[in-house]
């Protein structure tokens, strides 16, 4: 019982306790709340970085306790967990800063920040979960803790969005549960194993395992918004910008995508999944989602809705990367977990800035807005180019690895998907960049007076700049060991070695 074995739990508790203590604060004590929030997220970030260092050097962090006979809650920081955990911890810190600025002088901030922290703990739980049972538990907690965030505004629309969100995610959870239970009844409880826990299963139970695979993918597919299951995501856009940012970049959508990664790699194992012929349909599903999301994004007028559809499309890159056998495609998929996170969160921050500062929600209000808010729109431009896949931004690295992975796996059609997706991305992102930089700014737009030199509050400005810079750096310095790509390669080495 050394200290190391408590580390994952500690990480979880950091945000949990932050959340709970925020609930008990007086609504008016905003300074204390900010202090709690920032110190909590900073502490968690520090812990995660420490674990990152440890995992890199081969330490083993594992917490485990028994919930039911034979059924354990197990939290373990393996390299894949750390990938996601680092992303969540870091973006929690950034988003907290942003949310503090965004929600200044609005009601119910305790509730907001409390649930915000709780949902981060849930995300951390998902990241660190070391078996399907634990994964499922945190997966459902995430649903529950994000619901209050989605309906935060309390309007009729927000409640409707919340209802749809709940319907989709609970149904998904139910399907996932069936899959997990079924699998457990076949195999008994097991932990995630790099290289796949089910490898020992041969031909027997083949049909059942295939069905279970798809049940579980359907379950996590709801959160990762695979195509027929994506309906909740655009409506959930009604939530405040930090929530959308969190939902799309870090928590919910990523949790689903991460689930797919876990199921394919650590439960089935990529080789075994390939033997079962389940990866082909998954790849097709992901491709359809990629194209479909982009197509829907094309004709959105509302900026956030557009971004939502873009998310649907982009997140499926992860699933696509997972579904293609081969270390390179896997690298692409895994690294997109990070890349999409930092890029999409920037875009949402920027959209939030526009709506908060200038009350701009629609694309056709954005004429010349870049000259009014140059820094924000610079961040927006950089990351949207990244989304298109323009080098040297992060999105390019992803596409690169996915593409060459697909070629290596002899699935050239994926290249076409990538190409069409890039094209569609360009078709819906470039006009935005164009109108915001090259059209005349209309002065008669409603404008909020912002004191000070900056275009908006610094708390709103800093986060997108940081993340935009990171998405540039993640691409530009991709070849270095410290980049997300470097870490993804480390994971892949561990996944494919055994």
């Amino acid at each position: 019982m050394n200290l190391e074995s408590y580390f994952p739990l500690l990480v979880l508790l950091t945000s949990l306790l932050t959340g709970i203590s925020i609930f008990f604060l007086d609504e008016k004590r905003s300074a204390l709340r900010i202090l709690l929030n920032i110190s909590g997220s900073a502490a968690m970030f520090a812990f995660v970085i420490f674990m990152l260092w440890g995992v890199f050097h081969g330490h083993n962090y594992e917490t485990r306790w028994s919930l039911l006979p034979g059924i354990n809650i197990a939290l373990r920081a393996d390299s894949m967990a750390i990938l996601f955990a680092t992303l969540s911890a870091f973006l929690w810190l950034i988003t907290s800063i942003y949310a503090i600025g965004y929600l200044e002088i609005t009601p119910h901030r305790n509730r907001f920040f409390g649930f915000f922290s709780l949902s981060v703990s849930a995300t951390m739980g998902i990241a660190l979960a070391n078996n399907l049972f634990t994964f499922f538990i945190f997966y459902e907690i995430l649903t529950l803790t994000t619901y209050p965030l989605v309906v935060h505004q309390g309007t009729e629309k927000a409640l409707r969005a919340g209802r749809i969100y709940i319907m989709y995610t609970f149904c998904g959870g139910a399907v996932l549960l069936i899959g997990i239970v079924w699998l457990y009844t076949l195999t008994g409880p097991f932990d995630f194993v790099e290289g796949g826990a089910l490898r020992r299963f041969g031909e027997e139970r083949r049909v059942a395992l295939v069905v279970i695979f798809f049940l579980m993918i359907l379950g996590v597919g709801v959160k990762s918004a695979l195509v027929p299951l994506h309906g909740w995501l655009p409506t959930a856009m009604i939530a405040p910008a930090p929530v959308s940012a969190l939902l799309h970049a870090v928590a919910v959508v990523k949790a689903g995508a991460f689930g797919i990664v876990r199921i394919v790699y650590d439960v089935y194992g990529i080789r075994f999944a390939e033997e079962l012929n389940v990866l082909g349909p998954l790849a097709v599903l992901a491709s359809v989602t990629i194209i479909y999301g982009s197509c829907r994004a094309l004709y959105q007028v509302n900026l956030k809705r557009l971004l939502a559809f873009s998310t649907i499309s982009q997140v499926s890159y992860i699933a696509l990367g997972v579904a293609i056998v081969g270390p390179l495609a896997t690298t692409g998929g895994l690294v997109h977990l990070i890349h999409q996170g930092i890029m999409k969160i920037t875009l949402f921050f920027c959209a939030g800035n526009l709506s908060k500062t200038l009350h701009i929600h629609d694309i056709n209000q954005m004429n010349g807005v870049a000259w009014r808010m140059p820094l924000t729109m610079t961040a927006f431009t950089i990351t949207s180019l990244g989304m298109i896949g323009v080098p040297p931004l992060a999105g390019f690295v992803t596409k690169w690895y996915l593409g060459i992975g697909a070629v290596q796996a002899n699935q050239q059609w994926v290249i076409a998907v990538l190409a069409v997706s890039s094209l569609l991305n360009a078709i819906y992102f470039l006009p935005i960049i164009y109108v915001s930089w090259f059209k005349k700014y209309e002065e008669n737009q409603p404008e909020e007076h912002i004191s000070g030199k900056l275009e908006t509050r610094w708390t709103l400005l800093l986060p997108p700049l940081i993340t935009a810079f990171l998405s540039l750096a993640a691409g530009l310095l991709a070849a270095s060991n410290l980049s997300p790509l470097g870490w993804a390669k480390l994971i892949v080495r561990r996944e494919y070695l055994p």
Partner: protein, 503 residues
């Protein structure tokens, strides 16, 4: 032996004595008496638990008379768990009732007097009910069980009538008549059993019972009577009015504990006394009713316009989960998981449902009604209560991490293991429907409101915290396998592959 096992008698005796004392000392002292009594019960049950834990099932023949003449009391893991459940719920309901019956806002003298009499009767009847419940859990004698069931019913009906309005009385009469019919069916079954086998003691019966048409009739009658009392669909008709028209602490007790009494008897009889006579088909029939109960209860709950009835219908649905045990355990090899699951469900539902009723009571206290539509803005004024409701909702929906989830997990696992996947589907569908009605309430916690112009009456702090603690407990059950360790003592499926009669 007797010196040590005499503890069991005290578990029953203490609340009886408490009831007497409370009755004698009058309304002002009654709460204190109740509190003291519950302390005593807690310590006695704690000791009993320790004994069971240490030495296995305990048996006590009252007065040293053995069967067939004497009355046997018996405590194994299940019994102890039920006792603990009733203690937890009961104590917290008592705490809640402390606040509930000190309503400072009633101004008129008659109103106050009325209130005071209600209060005093509540405490007495509640202790009486507690005694009946404990006796029921400990009885090892089928006729004794009949008696305790009747006592339980009478106490419960009396508690319902405390509310005093005509709706409550109507509901109470209906409840009384129904459960009298149930009792009659049960007693007839007991009579047939006795006529055939000449013993009333469960253990002995279990040994003697042979498959035969008469014993089948007896079992059918007994089961029928108990189903009526436990309100399994479609015999649930009496439950929603009864539970929703009672005073809040009473509703909590009824939903959390009283229906569990008859369910407990059914468990004992089916799995410990007549395991050999129970067949797949019978189990499946009950399973179908249970499935119908889950779906029907949830749908009906969704349609309700008043919160309290909604919660009552939710009980109808949750009872269905309990009865899924029967088809699942009927497939012999996988009984243990279902058994554990159903008992987990019993306990967590008790905590959660009691908490839910308490929250409803708080809302009624605050705004004077429980119309769901008009609850805007209220929930934000009662954050602790709403939080408790949400947590309890988790258990009801079977969301992790909660006792409800653990129960569901075990039931689903069993259903898939035994190849009866359709029950798993029903379970999940029930969870989703439950989410439907829980969230239709929860959303009011988030609705944006203009300035609230409803004058809110203050809600005492103990009324806010009791449900919170209960719902937290319902949640925490999901975090520990402790109850399962207890359950293993005297469990009818002792890790054996085939079902055996417990000796």
């Amino acid at each position: 032996m007797d010196e040590t096992t005499v503890l069991i008698v005290w578990v029953i005796l203490l609340p009886f004595v408490g009831a007497m004392v409370a009755f004698i000392l009058g309304p002002r002292k009654a709460p204190i008496v109740t509190i003291i009594t519950s302390y005593c019960i807690i310590s006695v049950v704690a000791a009993l638990t320790w004994q069971v834990w240490k030495y296995g099932p305990q048996r006590h023949d009252v007065g040293g008379w053995v069967a067939p003449l004497g009355i046997a009391l018996y405590a194994d893991g299940l019994t102890v768990l039920m006792l603990i459940m009733s203690i937890v719920v009961g104590t917290l309901v008592s705490v809640y009732a402390l606040g509930y019956f000190t309503d400072s806002s009633i101004s008129s003298e008659t109103g106050k007097a009325n209130h005071r009499s209600k209060s005093s009767f509540f405490w007495v009847l509640w202790l009486f009910l507690w005694a009946a419940l404990n006796a029921l859990f400990l009885s090892q004698d089928i006729f004794n069980i009949y008696i305790t069931l009747e006592l339980l019913t009478l106490a419960a009906v009396a508690l319902i009538t405390l509310e005093g309005e005509s709706e409550a009385i109507t509901a109470a009469i209906r409840y009384l008549l129904t459960s009298l019919v149930g009792a009659a069916l049960f007693l007839f079954g007991v009579a047939i059993l006795y006529a055939n086998f000449g013993t009333l003691e469960l253990e002995g019966l279990g040994e003697l019972v042979q498959t035969g048409s008469l014993s089948v009739v007896a079992i059918a009658l007994i089961t029928m009577g108990l189903l009526l009392k436990t309100a399994l669909f479609p015999m649930h008709f009496w439950l929603p009015p009864a539970h929703s028209n009672a005073l809040t602490p009473v509703s909590s007790l009824l939903s959390a504990l009283v229906i569990k009494g008859s369910f407990y008897v059914l468990l004992r009889l089916w799995f410990q006394v007549f395991p050999l006579e129970v067949t797949m088909v019978a189990g499946h029939l009950i399973g179908c009713l249970a499935a119908a109960a889950i779906l029907w209860g949830s749908l009906a709950a969704m349609c309700q316009k008043r919160l309290k009835i909604l919660v009552a219908y939710s009980t109808v649905a949750q009872v269905g989960y309990l009865f899924l045990l029967f088809p699942l355990a009927a497939k012999e090899t996988h009984g243990l998981g279902a058994w554990n699951g159903a008992i987990y469900q019993t306990i967590s539902h008790a905590c959660a449902k009691a908490a839910m009723f308490m929250v409803v009571g708080n809302i009624i206290r605050a705004i004077g009604h429980d119309r769901i539509k008009d609850m805007k803005g209220v929930c934000q004024q009662l954050p602790v209560s709403m939080f408790a409701f949400a947590l309890a909702g988790l258990t009801i929906m079977g969301m992790p991490p909660s006792g409800g989830f653990a129960a569901k997990w075990m039931l689903i696992t069993t259903s898939i293991q035994s190849g009866q996947w359709w029950w798993a589907v029903i379970l999940l569908a029930g969870g989703l429907l439950a989410a439907g009605y829980i969230f239709s309430v929860l959303k009011y916690a988030f609705i944006k409101t203009e300035i609230v112009n409803v004058p809110l009456r203050p809600v005492p702090r103990c009324m806010e915290w009791a449900p919170l603690i209960l719902s937290l407990l319902a949640l925490l059950i999901g975090f520990t396998p402790m109850p399962l360790d207890l359950l293993r003592i005297g469990n009818p499926f002792p890790d054996a592959v085939t079902m055996e009669v417990v000796k």
